[in-house]
Amino acid sequence: MGDIFLKLLNMSINAGWLILAVLCIRLIFKKIPKWVNCLLWGVVAIRLICPFSIESRFSILPSTEPIRSSTVVEGEVHHYIPSIDSHLTIVENTINPMLTESFAYSESDSAAPLQVVTYAAGFVWCCGMLLLIICAVVSAIRLHMLVREAVRVKDGIYICDAVKSPFILGIIRTRVYLPSTLGEKEMNYIVAHESAHLKRKDHWWKALGYLLLCIYWFHPLCWAAYALFCKDIELACDEKAAKDMTFDEKKEYSKVLLSCARQRSLIMVCPLAFGEVGVKERVKSVLNYKKPALWIMIAAAAVVGILAICFLTDPGRETEEETPLSFPAVTEDPDNQSTENIDVESGSIENQSMENGGESTEQMDDRQVSEDDRIDVMSRFMDIPWDEIEAIQNVGYYDYRFDKIICIGEIPEYDIRVYGYNDEDVSGRGVAIDIAGDVNYFDWYYISPRLIMPKLYWDEEERQLQMTIHIHTGTGFDAEDLVILQQYDTGTLGPHYFTYGDYSEILSERIGYSFDDGSRELTLTDTVTGRDVASVTIPEGEIIGIECGGISYFELGESIKLFVTPGFFREGSAIPDYTGMPVLEFEVEYEWVINQYGGDDLSFGLGDLVGIRQDGE
């Protein structure tokens, strides 16, 4: 509701300029036939109805979106902070900063002040609109009750005792109601006037105008526009009826106008009433009516055209650097069990899923994961009542064929427990992490047939959970993925991955080798320091390459270490050999960076080579 109101507010501001222009034109060009005025109001109506518009250079409007729901501060887009889009430096320098200050909020707020304000405003607007609509409906009902006793005189023309002043009622079955006390001559003039209304379909336009007024009631110019529009309709009808009258007939018509105006006793909200609008002006207009010259008509058409182009088009959006935001989603308590990260950019709910490493050609399990599978498994997992999950006492993997939920890790001191799910269709997939009551679900594979449990480490200061996930297995393949989950104030965990694919890529550049055929020495070098790190004697075979990362594991803690055993390829063998190779110990470095979407990310890298363990050490 708040968004709709904001959009309408912007539309009404732009329409307001147009209404002002129309008012000026009406004042300046008093001689234009009144039906041209009605066209002008038609342009206003189009502006109020169409939520979209064409952009053009000729647009006079100062801006497409006068009140924006976001502001740009030093190039960065802040959503939900209002700003006024005008081309006045005064506004930019004083009002906008004030707005930024008063609507400031922090990421952990559940709703920005602007959202609250627009929601409240939207609510008030809705109430006003409903009130106006109810007024019209009540009025229409009362009129219908009034004319129950009316009697038909001619097609569509009725007389009624209770009617004091003629009016038209009804949108579909439109009827003209006249007072029963009218003389025949008077009746003819009035019928001529009302018929003109019907021919011009005024009963529809006026109803449309009232509907627009209901929607835009908050804009004072709209009330002025509606009032003047009603007046113009009446005047235009007078003109149409008086077009073919002689001067004497016009005099008679004016007399009728006067007599009907005096008897006004009903206050009618909606339908077209004869005596409703400024009688003096109408009499003047009827008596002085002359058919307009051709040049006036052309000028009028030109004016309407120019007006349309200038005001129906928008000046065009300023290109903002729209950076998508991810909002920290609110974590609900475990009994509710559905937490998601909402990614504003894609507008979808992102299932946090791991990518299984790039070069793992030797995974024992080949699970085809289709999009449907992914959603199904996690939703089944989340359907399980939390008490069942909490009730699991043992940590460890007993029999993955039979245990639906297992506890795959815990840190009791911090009340941290990690659970894994075994779905009937897909086993070993689905992780739930419970940190002191805040539960997050992840769509990950967490185990391999080697049944190696995840390792956990909790950094209380940084509020980071480090976790290793051992899913890469195969011949000559035994590697873990590292994930660091950052806990936010809301309880959400944001995962950051350092996968086998990531570090093996880094290692392939980091570790160089050389092989001396004569001494049969394979020497490994650290390309960063340039120093040799280890030498291994290879008795036989031709060395065609090395591999780094296939055998590796992490040690978690305040500083994370990655232990890698490189392997070498002999010619003719597709599988690396690790015999006699040392274990290289790297420091894992990670730091916060801004990613391509403007969000925070942990960037991983390999730091110093801090240790080398040869066989036997």
Binding site: R148, V151, D161, A162, S180
Partner: protein, 120 residues
């Protein structure tokens, strides 16, 4: 009694009742449906109003007149002469005849009326 004002359509309805009375209310409904295109409820409502004004009465669905048509309109005429001509009948007749001539039959009828009125 002369204060009773009838709207144009009410008057037409009253005339209809005077013409056909005594008449059942359901008959009236049928007649107004034809003549005015009124719904049943509308016919009843207007009848109710006329009854309240003292013109008619409804006895178990049978509608009869309390005041006859002549009575009613004569009251109105009297009231009109009172209000407009200060009760002066000659003034009224003079105004009525302004510029028009009466036929021999009309003159005869008037003379007879005057004679009768003088006697009583």
């Amino acid at each position: 009694m002369a204060e009773i004002q009838l709207g144009v359509i009410e008057a037409r309805y009253a005339d209809m009742i005077w013409e056909h009375e005594p008449v059942t209310s359901s008959e009236l409904v049928k007649m107004t449906a034809v003549e005015f295109n009124w719904k049943r409820t509308t016919a009843h409502n207007v009848l109710r109003r006329l009854i309240d004004k003292g013109l008619f009465q409804n006895d178990n669905g049978l509608v009869t007149a309390v005041i006859s048509r002549d009575e009613f309109y004569s009251m109105h005429s009297k009231k009109y002469v009172e209000d407009t001509f200060a009760g002066s009948l000659p003034a009224f007749v003079a105004a009525f005849m302004q510029g028009s001539k009466i036929t021999a039959d009309e003159a005869e009828a008037i003379r007879r009326m005057i004679d009768k009125a003088e006697e009583s």
